[in-house]
Assembly symmetry: C2
Homo-oligomer: 302 residues x 2
Amino acid sequence: MNLVIVGSVALDTVETPFGKVVRALGGTATFGSIAASYFSSPGIVGVVGGDFEQRHTNLLKRRGVDLEGLQIVPDRKTFHWSGYYEGDMNRAITKATHLNVFKTFRPIIPPEYRRAPFLFLGNIQPDLQLDVLRQMKKPKVVLCDTMNYWIESQPARLERVFRRSDVICVNDAEARQFTGCESLPKAARNLLKLGPRRVIIKLGGYGVQMYGKDSFFALPALPLTKVKDPTGAGDTFAGGFIGSLVQADRLDEHAYRRALAIGTVMASFCVQDFSCRGTANLTRFAIRRRLASLRALTCFRV
Amino acid sequence: MNLVIVGSVALDTVETPFGKVVRALGGTATFGSIAASYFSSPGIVGVVGGDFEQRHTNLLKRRGVDLEGLQIVPDRKTFHWSGYYEGDMNRAITKATHLNVFKTFRPIIPPEYRRAPFLFLGNIQPDLQLDVLRQMKKPKVVLCDTMNYWIESQPARLERVFRRSDVICVNDAEARQFTGCESLPKAARNLLKLGPRRVIIKLGGYGVQMYGKDSFFALPALPLTKVKDPTGAGDTFAGGFIGSLVQADRLDEHAYRRALAIGTVMASFCVQDFSCRGTANLTRFAIRRRLASLRALTCFRV
């Protein structure tokens, strides 16, 4: 176990122009750990209720995900999100959020997780993120995500989390909202001032940007004509990204770039099917092939 | 003269958070020809009024732009656009458009332009674009731009232009509007069905995508923290793009990719200053250096 992922484990009811799933496996820790499992040994810290079916835990176990940190509250229900996407599916429209067990979730890091060198902090409440950081023993890389709700309601707490992170991973709207800068390069520069080694700004179907103190890198999303369900793409990206970092010999710019490419590739698999169907049964060969095609479509000769 | 550029020559009054210019040199043919002039010998076909100052023609001549096709109507006024940008400057807000001489513009291609192998059709009325195509003697590459107004009012005429173009160059909103597809890969595929060799979709600050029948390529915009004025960025991009194609030995995927990179680089110079100030006085060295840095920030090892 070399990667701890803290975040939601959820049941998602999702409708898109291409179909519908009811109470399908979802959540940050789920999407993230499945993506990371191809490159690292992730363990998840989260909570589910008594309604969380055996087949879901089986799927995660099959992917080699450690579930020691997954709390089970038998007499309550799992976090349930339901929503839909329309048109270009760039934005989820929430129908209902039942936090259930997630409402009182307090992450408890199992002893055997605490020395893991890599940590992916999903978009939970900043105070809980700080609590996780206190429990961990000096991870080498902390990747931190957040969401508009925390930016709005607890920016100061969130800033503390950002200051203790090595990689801040947000989408374009969140970067703008947190910094008050419309320009993404400016927003990234402001975020870099908080001390992380890299700031990643996700642009949905337009790809992703990565800013360092003296570096910039960007990748387009793969040009998929069949996107079925964008749910979990960001978490899958982050999971693939940090999983790839676990594999790296040195955490240099090349390692970060390769990780960004791996994240992009994993996200592309994710959106091609509902829930985790697109990522749960991949081969290393399929991943490598898609990575090669991503590389091919971003190369040019000067 | 190996490249004909047909489009507006304008005077722009532009205000952005970083300053203001009054009646500064602008227009598609202006921005496009200045960008193209570093790689080719462009001639422009457009119209100006008696108020078009000598210093403007001097600037264009200094850049080696042929003005044989520039009609001058002494007793009328030059096309004047005035507008402003706010916030992230992704969208121009028009205060006034005085078409003036441009209202009755009919492009007349001078005899010595007609055999030019490259043609950049700016976003004028589709019927005028078709008229230009009739006057030209089989150009090797026709690059065609348009705008929301023509997509709305004359889609069928515009489709005829697209069918006769080798490169369709539009922005994301235009691609979606013309095809009715929210997904850009789908929109591009539909545009490709009209027969062009490449479809280019400009994404403003997010970069640019290029689709071929069996190819895809994308580039991010350069991460500029000081963008002063986005006016003319798209035209500058297109001018740099087609200018670079003029230089190519063979029109293969590599040539198109390099052209997309050159267009991106020229557009980055454009937005760093008002009007044509950012592009009118460049050195080949500065362009090559920025091209190299664009390449460096899009490379990764598999």
